[in-house]
């Protein structure tokens, strides 16, 4: 294990995790596979361990900044935690690569929609943007 590389991966994924509210697995897993030669499955399991650190640290800061809706987080987290093992079981009987690509398209469409919304938010003299409720 190359400690310097591991620390680099952790720092980059950690910042992304704190800013974007994601676990960071999307960065950690491919980085471990490509830079450290970790096996795909081990990389996934290992990233879940690392996410516990980034998630707790980010949440402590977010809680101090009063950004966390704890009740919603608990509901999402507990329901999600119950559902995750089912997903893992189902995955064994399904063409995972196909699912991954379908989901990838869905994610890209969501990204496109966000860029579109942002575009309308920036247009200074265009038609009045819909009142984006960002209270």
């Amino acid at each position: 294990m190359n400690v310097i590389v591991a620390i680099g991966i952790g720092l980059v994924a950690g910042v992304a995790s704190g800013v974007a509210g994601i676990g960071g697995g999307v960065i950690m897993v491919p980085a471990m596979v490509a830079l450290l030669g970790t096996a795909q499955h081990t990389a996934e399991g290992t990233s879940l361990l690392a996410i516990l650190f980034t998630g707790v640290a980010g949440t402590v800061v977010n809680q101090r900044n009063r950004r966390v809706d704890l009740r919603a987080a608990l509901t999402l987290g507990m329901v999600g935690a119950l559902a995750a093992p089912f997903g893992a079981v189902v995955a064994q009987g399904l063409p995972a690569d196909t699912l991954r690509r379908v989901f990838g398209v869905f994610v890209l469409l969501t990204a496109a929609r966000m860029f579109w919304q942002l575009r309308s938010l920036t247009t200074p003299s265009g038609p009045a943007p819909e009142s984006e409720a960002t209270a």
């Binding site: 591991a6 704190g18 950690m28 499955h41 879940l48 516990l52 650190f53 998630g55 949440t59 089912f86």
Partner: protein, 119 residues
């Protein structure tokens, strides 16, 4: 910010958990757009709430990987400790970004994640 036990929240949790187990992605790229789009969370609260929820989801999914022997504890510890520092700074940075900037950052994260999932 009072959110009642909402079926949309439960549905989002189920969706995020299933996808997490199914594809090995964290739930964040699912949870954040759902919180903003259907539950009218502001961008900052959506990110913060998503990250807190992910801790529980990752714990559950992680146990399954640990049981199967698919966790490298030394590597995970090293990445995690560095990640702890990064995430603390990232969360503080998030707090200071405007909602618009934050949305832009998240859109780029989605773009990168989508490309990665496709490949």
């Amino acid at each position: 910010m009072a959110v009642r036990l909402d079926w949309r929240l439960v549905a989002a949790g189920i969706g995020a958990g299933l996808l997490s187990g199914l594809l090995g992605v964290g739930g964040g790229i699912v949870i954040v757009p759902l919180l903003v789009g259907t539950l009218r969370f502001d961008q900052h609260s959506a990110h913060a709430t998503s990250l807190a929820a992910i801790v529980l989801i990752a714990l559950s999914a992680g146990v399954a990987f640990a049981v199967a022997g698919d966790v490298d504890y030394r590597l995970g510890g090293a990445i995690g400790l560095a990640g702890l520092v990064g995430s603390t700074a990232g969360a503080q940075l998030m707090h200071r970004l405007s909602p618009r900037r934050l949305k832009l950052v998240f859109a780029f994260v989605l773009l990168a994640s989508g490309v990665r999932l496709l490949l």
